[in-house]
Symmetry: C5
Subunit: 332 residues, 5 copies
Amino acid sequence: MIVDNALYHHGRRVPVGEGADQSLGSARVPCDPGDFQWIGIHEPSPDELQLIADTFGLHPLAVEDAGDSHQRPKLEHYGDTLFLVLKTLWYVDEEDAVETGEINMFVGADFVVTVRHGEGIDLADSRRDLEERAQVLEHGPMGVMYAICDRVVDEYERVGAALEEDVDEVEESVFSPARTDDANRIYVLKREIAEFRRAVMPLREPMRKLAMEGFDTTGVEGHVTSETATYFRDVSDHLQRVSELVDNLDVLLSTAFDAHLARISVQQNEDMRKISAGAALVVVPTLIAGIYGMNFEHMPELGWVYGYPFALVLMVGVATGLFAWFKKSGWL
Amino acid sequence: MIVDNALYHHGRRVPVGEGADQSLGSARVPCDPGDFQWIGIHEPSPDELQLIADTFGLHPLAVEDAGDSHQRPKLEHYGDTLFLVLKTLWYVDEEDAVETGEINMFVGADFVVTVRHGEGIDLADSRRDLEERAQVLEHGPMGVMYAICDRVVDEYERVGAALEEDVDEVEESVFSPARTDDANRIYVLKREIAEFRRAVMPLREPMRKLAMEGFDTTGVEGHVTSETATYFRDVSDHLQRVSELVDNLDVLLSTAFDAHLARISVQQNEDMRKISAGAALVVVPTLIAGIYGMNFEHMPELGWVYGYPFALVLMVGVATGLFAWFKKSGWL
Amino acid sequence: MIVDNALYHHGRRVPVGEGADQSLGSARVPCDPGDFQWIGIHEPSPDELQLIADTFGLHPLAVEDAGDSHQRPKLEHYGDTLFLVLKTLWYVDEEDAVETGEINMFVGADFVVTVRHGEGIDLADSRRDLEERAQVLEHGPMGVMYAICDRVVDEYERVGAALEEDVDEVEESVFSPARTDDANRIYVLKREIAEFRRAVMPLREPMRKLAMEGFDTTGVEGHVTSETATYFRDVSDHLQRVSELVDNLDVLLSTAFDAHLARISVQQNEDMRKISAGAALVVVPTLIAGIYGMNFEHMPELGWVYGYPFALVLMVGVATGLFAWFKKSGWL
Amino acid sequence: MIVDNALYHHGRRVPVGEGADQSLGSARVPCDPGDFQWIGIHEPSPDELQLIADTFGLHPLAVEDAGDSHQRPKLEHYGDTLFLVLKTLWYVDEEDAVETGEINMFVGADFVVTVRHGEGIDLADSRRDLEERAQVLEHGPMGVMYAICDRVVDEYERVGAALEEDVDEVEESVFSPARTDDANRIYVLKREIAEFRRAVMPLREPMRKLAMEGFDTTGVEGHVTSETATYFRDVSDHLQRVSELVDNLDVLLSTAFDAHLARISVQQNEDMRKISAGAALVVVPTLIAGIYGMNFEHMPELGWVYGYPFALVLMVGVATGLFAWFKKSGWL
Amino acid sequence: MIVDNALYHHGRRVPVGEGADQSLGSARVPCDPGDFQWIGIHEPSPDELQLIADTFGLHPLAVEDAGDSHQRPKLEHYGDTLFLVLKTLWYVDEEDAVETGEINMFVGADFVVTVRHGEGIDLADSRRDLEERAQVLEHGPMGVMYAICDRVVDEYERVGAALEEDVDEVEESVFSPARTDDANRIYVLKREIAEFRRAVMPLREPMRKLAMEGFDTTGVEGHVTSETATYFRDVSDHLQRVSELVDNLDVLLSTAFDAHLARISVQQNEDMRKISAGAALVVVPTLIAGIYGMNFEHMPELGWVYGYPFALVLMVGVATGLFAWFKKSGWL
């Protein structure tokens, strides 16, 4: 579905013939030097994609990739066009889960085509924000690329922060005295962090490249200035920060898991001692009862009037003594 | 066994003299510039290999490697010939097992020789598919190499997806309440993933090389264009994706294994507490029985008419109380 | 809040018009070649930052970073200005905790702007110290940068030493016979070490760059001599040392954790044996009591005058014998 | 001990004066351009080594290394001489152990000196094989170096295969129901694999160097052709394969060890449940006996004629019921 | 304390004016081209260091480092002077401990200043040895540097061998049937190995640099020949060997620790089974006693003359039977 299609002239949106905008879809709007056209698509049908590919002369292999939503992040040259794949991530609070989508971007000298898969980041919002920042739009297609990367990486930071909170909760749970099934939660979190890394890690190299002033963006050349590089350096830096954060969380989770294992062992130990102490409170009186259950003819206690209460008191006394002793030595 | 032998002219299969095709076997067909001959062999006898080696002037060390089916993936120059070793992988559903085969490929200026070991990927199919894609065949021997690599890596992705499902199953089993011998399954899966990696990892470097535009394919030179590089870049990218997937699975399995260990400990803990609680239900009544088994002369309960039922009720009552208490505190 | 604002001339502080110093805040003081102005700010408001940014022509992206206190350490060029982000660390004894702050530094040809977030290192102190070391101040803005880096890294070493002590304590606790909850402490320490590493590791590359004689500090150029490089090499070396120390502590903690796990197991083993031995001391006499509680008509002991004492002595004797045996074999 | 000493002329062994061969030992035989002399020594005395060092002008540091059998594999230039250290490995079936020896090789323009320590690979055999492969010997001293490296690496592959079998056995043992002390076997295997790696890993770099066509073999230059490089590339490739195999085995062993640990825990769990079930079969009848051992005056069962058999049947019945229940729920 | 001070002329020690030698201390002795002065200091006071720094024009930062004994190994240029920091290691048999000291070395065109901290390697011995090896001394200051590095690294090898023995002992202890607290020993050894690595690892890079023929030793230039490089290559190689040895020991210790953990589990398992078997030997006879303690009126055994002995024999018989059964099934 073609979501939006506009022409940008000196950093300002220029109305394209109303009909042309939506119905013609991917039709190429002739533009002056320095102008560029930006088409946004969401989960396109193969036909839509093909139409756009034909219009802008996109490479079949890149188009094939763009139609699929299981790419890994990458930046590639196809002739005069730059092709960028980004994973979008967002955090669904209700499920404590990280969801993933994908943005594919074709950037040429005078056009940008963005193909979005899945939900998450609303490029229409990004476009509106961007249209108000003429100084970025003035950098042309590379400015659009920057704006989208910036938006996506900002979202990564939000997800990273949410994961950090989850790790804090797990940590608290591990060290709380309650018996909790932290192994399961840690596993789920580790899995999400792995998902996160698969989105973030491969993107670092492309961002690093775009942040280098001399990076060869054949065909889009006219638009790459040292200023653009500065912008991408900022994105690259944020990406670096979020990836370090997540690496750190991963290591912390492993440590928390080990601590969880230790805690299970310690608890088993304590349980065992409690159980043994409890058992002692029963078996020792049983021994006493056994003694007075012996059938010797000459057992003076048996004839005492208060023999029975004496025996009971003895049992309770011994049990109480044991109880106090176990308490003192930390077994109960 | 020589499976097929054909001449390709401008991306089209050209009939070779009928007899020549099969019986002459490896006989070199004279060809115009731009044409090339493609011979496919399956588990050749040493004699067949030698015949072909002599015909196309292949290097003895490469021929020795091609006759053996335990090579590691690699790309090498032997004079004017490129020699590529690929591991083929396929997933056997019935056994949840990954099987491996091997394809060795000699690529010269005007010939391709493919030597296949084991089952798995049917090169005859690939050839038929390829013959319908003239635009690839037009790239000559390098086009054939691309088509086969693409086919093999596609199969890797299928195997990767199957392994992913297996890991999901293991994961579910680990976190299910049932007592399952997950250690064994995890081990087997890890072993298969190791097998997988041994096929995939060493192939990354050759694919990366072929994806570089300036890569020196001496003797095959005339056929390497920036277009071919683009094709191999696509293969390389898929390879990268599948190898990241499998690395990720490996890490997940390790985490799942740790969770399995934690679960065993937790279960032992729970069993121990259940057992102890169960024991308490027996030993406390035993103590009561012991008390009324004492032989004191003055034990008023002994003379009661309802002394015996009272004792039984006491036992059952205490046991019931304990049972309720254990239930409440989660020990039973 | 603007903390200090001064002009330095040939390594000496030059009084700036009193009013100008504080109230004008970020006003640029005209200076001769070789002189430079140093403004120190602490947790600035966005307006203060903007004022300074306008005065010295700082890049908006860098200014945005400087206003935020969650940057990762980095060194960047923005046009003629070097922008350095440092994490400050200090150790709070009472809580055994590592606290973090941040220093952002803009260094131009004739100015230094330091923006500090959080407590920790008092730059006013550093400034006073530095003002007494004319030979460092003579190196101009880069000299100030060196002095601050040196101060910050010195503090890292102090924190590293404090962590080392903490690790020593944990180690002692792990191998002491007492039952201690070392898992928790080890976790907390590991977390702090991770914090530490996040401050220290990314700083190594910037320091290494500044230590290279030929490093291009565009715009600040006039001040970078091989002598400055020597100074930064010293900082870089200390940074290397402290990061190796902390890596080492991290590994030691992991080993200590493993040892802690082993110790828990060993203790459980010993407890189990003690418990069993203790149980034996009760159940064996119980068996004896059971025997003399049997109702056979012909049991000679029952008729003995000293039968009862005999039985008691037997019980005590057997228990004592068992006790001695368990003691000898290390079970009690 | 000088084992053999011969002159090779155009790939053919040329008889050296009989006496000269053995008694003169290291005497240098004058040779035509293209000829070379090959002396083989086994565990030489310091004097023998010195004699040879003087004759061929070997560097004292290399000679010192060659006299010692605890070198690490390396390739070095000493002036005009290449010095190669190889570890030889072989597998002793009876002890399931990997043994190590060492070959030191000096290669000059017209001589090869091989110094062997320990048993294992019989260089006399290698020499005889080589003398029948004139096309290799024609490459002169570098041909000899190739042949020996090839022989040594072939042996590595045999050892690797033997270790693979051992790992398979361990794996089977870990997952067999029998209680086996796999920890010990795994440790021993890991130790042997470490030994293996110490022989193989450092050799990869020298082989890689020799496989590069442009590698500077000063003084031996005349003999290094692209053909020689091809040969060494083959050795290098086999070395790579065997080192990947062994890395893989190491990882498998670690996984097998973890599985072993899990199995111990599972077995302990099962034992504990069996024991508890067994105990229940005794303590419940004991409770029943205790009940009928109570001294109440009014216990109707006590007066029954079949009271006693009834009690016994009750005991057996309860025990049988419990037994069946435990069997069903998998505790026995 | 200035330990020694001498002038070397063509590899020979030249007497310096007696008084000058010790009392003038660091006075610079005028020397001919090719001569050099070597001053050895042990734990100098700040004043002594300053005196020497002034005499030879040493850089203040290097002098500061040399006065401190907690440097990490490094090689640095300060103007015309090379500054090398070495950690010395030695093994104290009585305590099974590795001790560390430090040697700082300033090497200029015509002087060497060695500053030693801590005990360990006696440089006076090294000097005497060196004075007898004129061919090394002839290489001038770099020859002295080589000799000291060689001495230090030799000592590393001795320490490495001692650690290897310790690891062998631990290994034996882990797999011995005795219950030993191996966790503690392994921890201590790991700590010492970490210490060792901190001394050895950072030294590899400096040694590698000195082993490169073209290494720029500004100011000491005249003395660096390809021969010197050969010497340092030898040191570098030994360093490599010892660092591989120690890495290997570290890995072995980790494996041994895991095996220790497994052994604890296995022992606990065995203990549990022994305890249970032991318990069975008591509770089963207790059940029998309980049965004959029941108060049924019609229990024929109670009236038998040999009822009591029969019961005792029954108890012993059952216990013996159980004992035999447990023995057979490996529980006792």
